[in-house]
């Protein structure tokens, strides 16, 4: 018996010997599940065609990732579902009547140029879905700004296309058929996935409950936009109304909950995340108030993506056991050494 046992080859590893059940694939799947309410609202408002766009987005993103990894003889990585999620997110930022091939181009830019050329998952410094969207936005400006009428407003508005509430708010006035409540529910024109703040918040709550994301980035992002629009209102609107209109229109919720929280392109330090969220909020408001585009979430997040590394460095935290007095003492010591060096 003991002879037989010795033939078993034992594994040896450093601790820990057990691991959490949550893995990369499960995280990505959870984000997709959290997007379901937004997808359902998109289909209810714009019909079944948006599903084609989502599908081409997902399939093309997976194809580009698979093709690139295969062409350059790298380990297959489509199993982690990260590429599929990028495709889905990009699809959700398409206008509901975009041609089917548009997401294919967007995912090529997002997956190959932004993600894979920098080494794949976790190494890109821009959000691939948003970078793809920004690419399409500058290449196909007309298509990307053509908004069809949601089913909820089909009796109220004539024609086939209409302006988004943001265009009205920052242009010649918000039409009366937009109320804070209808905007919250998603009765407004816009990208497939961005229209319903309610559906997106539902998904956000799921993500926080599943511990996929922390509250820090969404809360500081949405909070900053809310606070700034509350303080700097617009004549013709009460400040509270103006804030609600701003929160529920455009892609703020989609951006704050699903885009800004992208792991690879947001800070990992806890205070860094708060500042990053606040920065996204500030830039969004600045672009909305003063920028050339009616909507600024995409560029606000992309710009803050570029600051991620600096934020992580700046908010490097002190280890356990270091009190505020210790930090002050260390600073004073450094200063004294500098002073002493001056006189030498």
């Amino acid at each position: 018996m003991s002879e037989k046992k010795e033939r078993i080859i034992l594994d040896v590893a450093y601790q820990p010997q057990v691991r959490t059940t949550q893995d990369t694939k499960r995280l990505m799947l959870d984000v997709m599940i959290a997007l379901l309410p937004a997808i359902i609202v998109g289909v209810l408002q714009f019909g079944l065609y948006p599903l084609v766009l989502l599908l081409t987005g997902v399939c093309s993103a997976v194809f580009w990732e698979w093709g690139y990894r295969r062409l350059f003889k790298k380990d297959a990585s489509i199993g982690d579902l990260s590429a599929a999620l990028t495709g889905l997110l990009l699809g959700l930022t398409m206008p509901p009547t975009a041609p089917w091939w548009l997401p294919v181009i967007g995912t090529f830019f997002g997956i190959v140029v932004v993600k894979q050329l920098y080494g794949g998952i976790g190494k890109n410094f821009l959000n691939p879905a948003l970078a793809g969207r920004a690419f399409l936005f500058s290449s196909y400006a007309t298509i990307m700004a053509t908004w069809s009428i949601p089913n909820a407003l089909s009796g109220t508005v004539d024609g086939t296309t209409m302006a988004t509430p943001l265009a009205g708010m920052y242009g010649d006035g918000l039409p009366a058929y937009f109320t804070a409540k209808s905007m919250f529910m998603g009765y407004l024109p816009g990208c497939i996935g961005e229209i319903s703040a309610f559906a997106l918040l539902l998904g956000g709550a799921y993500l926080i409950w599943r511990k996929v994301i922390s509250w820090r980035i969404p809360v500081s992002f949405i909070g900053t936009v809310g606070l700034l629009t509350l303080i700097f209102g617009k004549s013709g609107y009460s400040n509270g109304q103006w804030m609600l209109y701003n929160l529920f229109s455009g892609s703020l919720m989609l951006g704050a909950i699903f885009m800004a929280t992208d792991y690879a392109t947001s800070p990992v330090t806890l205070n860094g995340q708060l500042v990053y969220g606040a920065g996204c909020g500030l830039l969004t408001v600045l672009i909305r108030y003063f920028g050339g585009f009616p909507e600024g979430t995409t560029y606000a997040i992309l710009i803050m993506n570029l600051c991620t590394w600096a934020l992580d460095k700046a908010f490097h935290r002190h280890q356990f056991g270091v009190s505020k007095a210790d930090i002050a003492f260390k600073k004073a010591e450094k200063l004294a050494a500098k002073e002493a060096a001056k006189y030498e």
Binding site: M1, S2, K5, E6, I8, L10, D11, V12, A13, Y14, Q15, P16, Q17, V18, R19, T20, T21, Q22, D23, T24, R26, L27, D75, S77, D80, S82, G120, I121, G122, S214, Y263, A264, P267, V268, T269, L270, Q273, D312, H316, R317, H318, Q319, F320, G321, V322, S323, D326
Partner: protein, 450 residues
């Protein structure tokens, strides 16, 4: 109100305190390694062919940081030679052929009433009985308590048992509450401390209630309920939770006036002082999917791991890993021949089921390691610099403050070998420091020659 610290994880606890303590028949041959503590290794006091009694001292070293070892059975010494050690390597061991008589050795008599009040007598007995930190660190307790005299004003007893699987502390509380409290009182007297704080996680509420019914205040003990979270039983976390004090980086709990002693150690001290019994057995939780368990097995020191599994019903599946201690901080044994030692709180026979490793893991920068690190470190960056071999930045990110609790690696969805990297990095730093010291000494010696 439960007390706790910031960070930490919630592993699947897999605890089974309802399984009663089972006594493992001592093996026909026990292997007693001369290293069962941190510090100077013991020198064997017996030779091949000698007859030893149960509890007889068979190895010791006069160095202050050391603890003697004792025979866990009576019988004939059949070999004094290097044998596989549970922590790896071959270590000088005394092999005793069991005569199954358990003839007791009378060298250690129970302490008298008077001696039980004298710190010196208790400390001497702790040392003589070979008491070490039985939570797993195996630091000689007598030295720890003695070096804290005068500096320490709060004694912290660790009853968190935050590691998954392990039940030894919980069962000790439930089965010997009064003896345990008396053991804690002895440590308190020995350390010259007025009050002891006993931190217990609230998943052991039955034990808290039972201990409270024995009026711990008459022994100078206060029971502190703690939140259920890993690594609550880490020394620094325990001090933080119970007293609110934070141990300085690179410091010891004594630096903030605390000494931390584990539950099982206190019980061992009770046995040493009241019963005159050295450390020769302990409760070992035997678990994992390779055995039909779990078992809470009262096991003699020196029981080979293969034999222990046989006694607990044998393997139902082929084991792939043998983990000594809990799965979060436990290390892997390399041989079935290696024996259990004083610090072995659990022996887990794991198969592929528990193993969730992946090949070629890719960090996704989720930052989940940062939120759980109890030392407020940033494992994601420490790992990045480790991969680059960037010592300077590793130090800047305080890799030396990592106490290898494994929370970051446990929580990593990408399965990065974080703790492994930091342990390796720390060893590299120690090695570097040792090399630099040796070089400086050689240089000084050369100059002296001139």
């Amino acid at each position: 109100m439960t007390h706790t610290f910031k960070g930490g994880v919630h592993p699947n606890y897999m605890k089974a305190p309802q399984v009663p303590i089972s006594v493992v028949t001592p093996p026909p041959e026990v292997v007693i390694p001369m290293v069962q503590h941190i510090g100077a290794p013991c020198k064997p006091l017996v030779a091949k062919g000698d007859y030893v009694k149960m509890g007889q001292k068979i190895g010791e070293n006069p160095a202050p940081v050391s603890a003697p070892v004792h025979a866990s059975v009576s019988g004939k010494v059949v070999a004094v030679e290097p044998r596989p050690h549970p922590l790896g390597d071959m270590i000088m061991s005394v092999v005793i052929e069991n005569d199954y008589q358990d003839t007791p050795c009378e060298d250690l008599a129970p302490l008298t009433e008077e001696e039980l009040k004298s710190p010196e007598a208790i400390l001497t007995r702790m040392r003589e009985a070979g008491v070490v930190g039985m939570g797993g660190a195996m630091f000689p307790t007598a030295f720890k308590v003695r070096s804290g005299i005068g500096k320490v004003d709060k004694l912290v007893i660790n009853g968190a048992e935050c590691e998954p699987y392990l039940n030894g502390d919980h069962l000790t509380m439930l089965n010997y509450p009064e003896k345990l409290l008396k053991g804690i009182e002895l440590v308190r007297i020995a350390g010259g401390v007025k009050k002891a704080f006993y931190g217990i996680e609230v998943n052991k509420q039955d034990a808290i209630d039972l201990l409270n019914s024995f009026h711990p205040e008459q022994y100078g003990i206060e029971i502190v309920p703690e939140a259920v979270k890993y690594p609550q039983g880490g020394e620094k976390m325990q001090v933080k939770a119970v007293t609110g004090r934070e141990v300085k980086p690179g410091g010891l709990p004594a630096g903030v006036g605390c000494t931390v002693v584990s539950t099982r150690t206190c019980y061992a001290i009770y046995q040493a002082c009241y019963e005159g019994k050295p450390v020769i057995e302990r409760i070992v939780t035997v678990g994992g999917s390779a055995v039909d368990g779990p078992h809470n097995a009262l096991t003699r020191v020196g029981t080979p791991l293969g034999y222990l599994a046989e006694q607990c019903g044998g393997f139902v599946k082929t084991p792939r890993k043998i983990v000594l201690g809990g799965p979060m901080m436990g290390i892997c044994a390399t041989s079935f021949e290696a024996p259990t030692i004083k610090g072995t709180a659990g022996v887990l026979y794991f198969t592929e089921e528990e193993d969730r490793m992946v090949e070629n893991p890719q960090c996704i920068r989720c930052g989940k390691c940062i939120t759980v690190c109890p030392m407020n470190l940033e494992p994601v960056f420490m790992y990045m610099y480790y991969n680059k071999g960037d010592y300077e930045n590793m130090e800047k990110y305080h890799v030396m403050d990592c106490f290898e609790c494994g929370s970051c690696a446990f929580n990593c969805p990408a399965r990065m070998p974080l703790t492994h990297a930091f342990k390796t990095a720390k060893l590299m730093f120690q090695d570097k420091a040792a090399r630099e010291k040796a070089a400086a000494e050689a240089k000084a010696a050369k100059e002296a020659q001139k």
